[in-house]
């Protein structure tokens, strides 16, 4: 155990870019699967985006789902879905948007029906949400805009900060992470709601953060070391930042895992998106960003300080 803590990742000399073709191939294959799943299976969009009603009811004792369904059907909610949520005392009921009898009072009617049924006397409302179809549509648009805005803002920042090939590499890595995370939710049909969208945006921030550190080192090493090929210097930089990359990812991963187990069911989607995003973000900052820049034909000259900068840096 102690040896793991003292692990000297600095002394590693892994030829990461040797596998760049393999990594690229793997990434492209995974992205194709993700995109294919998005096209074929689509997203399991949550209430926030589809509109509809969700009601969470807490019973004093554990309750059988078929009984709840029967009660709901009898009360005229034929399209209602019921499932346990967390414990056997909690029931989550979904009613799709096309079944809107007076939508705004639906949650009250459902609760009343459940309370009137046998064994439902002590049932209490834990949470009720109704989202009208127009609001759902807007949230989809705003969510998409937020993601695009974040990507654009970061692209502009990275363009100013780095040479364009590295900037494109960063964005490639980030887009890769977003598609992977969203594809994961599509493939496993996990519910994609507003909090998951927030997590995806946080993944964008995190992924760039991770990548920028590696790119910073690549730039630094290009300026510092006169010897060595582009691939060698990139490998060197990735190795030098490897322990930081892994340590930070581990620390963030730990906090998100804690959130998954202790943050309650509401936070599950958020934590899963973050966990997936951090794992794939760590991989992409090692492989995708630098390999993309390499394929775009980056050279030492591209990263050497321009004349004006050289003057500025003189003491």
């Amino acid at each position: 155990m102690a040896s793991m803590w003292r692990l000297n990742l600095y002394n590693t000399n892994i030829d990461f870019l040797h596998w760049r073709k393999l990594a690229m191939g793997w990434s492209i294959a995974v992205l194709l699967i993700a995109l294919g799943s998005l096209l074929i299976r689509g997203m399991n969009l949550g209430l926030d985006f589809t509109g509809g009603t969700v009601i969470e009811v807490q019973y004093p004792e554990s309750v059988e789902i078929p009984m709840v369904r029967e009660t709901l059907a009898k009360a005229g909610f034929d399209n209602a879905q019921a499932q346990h949520f967390g414990t056997s005392r909690d029931v989550l009921i979904r009613i799709p948007p096309h079944d809107q009898r007076n939508a705004a009072t639906l949650s009250n009617e459902v609760l009343r029906a459940l309370q009137d049924a046998k064994g439902g006397a002590g049932a209490t409302l834990a949470r009720a949400e109704y989202v009208g179809p127009q609001v759902g549509q807007e949230l989809v648009e705003q969510g998409g805009l937020a993601a695009l805005g974040a990507l654009a803002g970061i692209l502009i920042y990275v363009m100013f900060r780095f040479e364009w090939r590295l900037a494109v590499g960063t964005i490639a890595a980030t887009v890769h992470d977003v598609i992977f995370t969203v594809g994961w939710f599509s493939l496993f049909q996990l519910e994609f709601d507003l909090t998951v969208l927030a997590a995806v945006l946080a993944v964008i921030g995190y992924s760039v953060n991770d990548t920028v550190v590696v790119l910073d080192r690549i730039r630094e090493n290009f300026r510092k070391r006169r010897k060595g090929s582009v691939v060698e210097i990139m490998n060197r930089s990735i190795n030098e930042t490897l322990s930081r990359t892994l340590m930070t990812s581990l620390a963030t991963l730990l906090s998100v895992i804690v959130l998954y187990f202790l943050g309650g069911t509401v936070m599950h989607g958020f934590s899963i998106a973050m966990i997936v995003g951090i794992l794939v973000g760590t991989y992409s900052s090692i492989y995708i960003a630098s390999a993309s820049a390499l394929y775009l034909g980056i050279s030492r000259e591209d990263l050497l300080p321009r004349a004006k900068e050289a003057v500025d840096e003189r003491p």
């Binding site: 803002g153 909090t195 946080a202 953060n209 620390a251 958020f270």
Partner: protein, 623 residues
């Protein structure tokens, strides 16, 4: 070039500055430690109902007589707060007080921070908890603007007809066109041109176009449409505000969102059915002539009401006797605005009626010049009360005379009400007139309700997740970086304190996703320390002395830290810009967390490192 001995030393004022920032954080975060008492809050239903020491004594006597346990009564600027040890006592007292105090007072359940008085005196308060953490209802309502414009156009149809008739222009039909606007048809072009002139002069607000030789199309101008939409929105906000007061909610939020939406947040409300009932109540107005032949006070005292009259009360509770016949109802009112009377300079309310209403009102007032006229505000409400353990719903109407004025002239489309005591009274009257005008349809398009126990559970889970996350990261950092890990943990703890302090100071809303943001920031905040420490290790390996390694580690990692934090900040700001509700809470804590973490992880931990290691001769560094 400095020698390694003077490296890593901060001047005393830097330590002081950092200490002050941490102290500031501790002070602002302090109110959050004290928790909340269940409380009942009483305020006046109207401005003229005093909440004073006498009222406090009255309530105290009432509670004592009923032997209702309570912690203490606190008299504040315009409310009385009663604190309790447990929520059951709170509910019991709220029920009793609602019953005893009647409709003059608003009795609301509240959670009052139990922070000590000196903190409150300093203006410090705990974080504002979102509805998902404290329980309550959030409604997003949309005003149907198409219907609003339709209403306005319909009222113009009457006006157009009246104007054309008055000028003896021959038309075949006037009506609302299916695709919006008003269509007037004529038998020949000459009549149409005449009509165009008349309407241009009399109704300049309408824009004219000529779709074909024998008709005229009239549409509302852009400024008028904007004005009407704004009016409809303000009217609904006013009405909702009055209703929410009725509901007895301690800290309601009623806000405009966008062009045609209203957000209503009612913390602590559990009975959403009742909330919807009350928010959806309707109000109307009636104009009635005053009964000038009988003595109002006497009628009220004896209870003998003349056959053709009805007894009302005004807002101060004084009796008013009005005739039974209704001159005009509120749905004829197009606008009501407060301002100053041009002749007397006193406060006035300017009322605009629609065409049909104007005609009716002209007829009703022309023979009654010099007589008085009362405006009655009528609200249809339903109330759910517990009777013998069962919930019973009763519908009732509240009627109140909001103004009595003398008719000075034949009143038509536009008239003004003067003789008001203050501009405030004028404003109130205009608000009430608008609230009783023909309401624009409003619809609930989003609802989010969180039960109070679910809210408590969310807080408990969020708090536990944050604490465990802090401990796990601390263990991880100490395991990897030894003493430097302890320093990173101290910086992390300081970061959490600063986030809580900033949220408390800004009174930003803390939501469950907001807590997720704090937990996430913890993971990301140590990134800065990881960067620095790994760099120090690297420098040590390159053969640098411990002091030089520390110096270079902090120095070189700085650019990278700025880069990586800025990019996350960009994503957080985008999230804030586009996100709604709870997601905004995530963006807020994430942004604040990034900013504070740059301070604690870089400056704060540097100060600690300097304090411990600076100026010492180091052979080895355990990092």
């Amino acid at each position: 070039m400095a020698t390694p001995y003077t490296l890593n030393q901060y001047p005393w004022w830097k330590y002081l500055l950092i200490g002050l920032v941490i102290l500031w954080g501790l002070i602002f975060a302090l109110p959050n430690l004290f928790g909340e008492d269940p409380a009942v809050q009483i305020s006046g239903a109207r401005a003229n109902i005093a909440i004073d020491p006498a009222f406090r004594n009255r309530v105290a006597a009432l509670l004592d007589a009923e032997k209702l346990p309570h912690k203490r009564l606190e008299l504040e600027a315009d409310r009385l707060l009663i604190r309790f040890a447990d929520p059951e006592e709170q509910l019991k007292v709220a029920d009793v007080l609602k019953d005893r105090l009647g409709r003059d007072y608003i009795v609301a359940l509240n959670l009052a921070s139990s922070e000590p008085g000196f903190l409150r005196a300093l203006g410090l308060s705990p974080m504002y908890l979102g509805l998902d953490l404290r329980g309550g209802v959030h409604f997003l309502m949309q005003v149907d603007m198409d219907a609003t414009i339709k209403q306005v156009e319909n009222s113009y149809v009457e006006d157009v007809r009246a104007q054309l008739r008055a000028e003896k222009v021959l038309y075949t039909s006037v009506g609302r066109a299916a695709n919006g606007g008003i269509r007037v048809e004529f038998k020949d072009g000459a009549e149409r041109d005449k009509a165009a002139q008349v309407l241009h002069k009399q109704l300049p607000g309408l824009q004219q176009s000529e779709p074909d030789p024998l008709s005229l199309r009239l549409t509302l101008g852009e400024p008028e449409i904007r004005e009407k939409r704004d009016f409809a929105l303000q009217q609904n906000i006013t009405t909702l505000r009055n209703r929410v007061n009725e509901l007895g909610v301690a800290e309601p939020i009623i806000q405009q969102q966008g062009n045609d939406r209203i957000v209503v947040q009612l913390p602590g409300v559990q009975d959403t059915a009742r909330a919807k009932e009350i928010l959806g109540a309707t109000a109307t107005l009636e104009f009635r002539l005053a009964d000038e032949e009988n003595d109002w006070a006497q009628a009220a005292a004896t209870g003998r009401i003349p056959l053709n009259s009805r007894l009302y009360k005004d807002r101060e509770g004084r009796p008013v006797l009005l005739q039974k016949r209704v001159m005009l109802t509120g749905d004829s009112i197009v606008d009501a605005a407060s301002g100053l009377d041009q002749q007397s300079g006193g406060p006035a309310v300017f009322v605009t009626l629609d065409g049909k209403g104007a005609k009716r009102f002209e007829d009703a007032t022309k023979d009654n010049i010099g007589k008085r006229m009362g405006v009655v505000f009528i609200e249809n409400k339903t109330e759910t009360k517990r009777v013998d353990g069962e919930l019973k719903k009763t519908a009732y109407t509240v009627e109140e005379v909001i103004n009595v004025a003398t008719i000075r002239d034949r009143l038509g489309r536009r008239f003004q009400i003067t003789g008001l005591d203050s501009t405030r009274e004028a404003r109130d009257l205009a608000l009430l007139l608008r609230a009783g005008a023909l309401a624009s349809p409003i619809e609930i398009i989003e609802e989010r309700t969180v039960g109070p126990s679910a809210g408590k559970e969310n807080i408990a889970q969020g708090f536990r997740a944050a604490m465990v996350s802090l401990l796990v990261i601390a263990a991880f950092m100490v395991g990897r970086y030894r003493w430097f890990g302890v320093i990173a943990t101290a910086a992390l703890a300081a970061n959490v304190v600063l986030i809580v302090a900033a949220l408390s100071m800004l009174q930003a809303t803390l939501t469950l996703p907001g807590i997720a943001g704090i937990v996430l920031t913890m993971g990301m905040a140590v990134d800065a320390n990881v960067l620095i420490y790994e760099r120090i290790r690297e420098e040590l390996r390159n053969g640098n002395s411990p002091q030089a390694a520390i110096h270079a580690g902090f120095d070189r990692a700085f650019d990278t830290i700025i880069d990586s934090n800025l990019t996350t900040l960009i994503a957080a700001i985008m999230l804030f810009g586009f996100g709604t509700g709870p997601i905004k809470g995530f963006a807020v804590t994430l942004s604040i967390g990034i900013l504070t973490s740059m301070f604690t992880a870089v400056t704060g931990s540097r100060a600690l490192v300097n304090f411990i290691y600076g100026g010492r001769k180091l052979q080895k560094l355990a990092v």
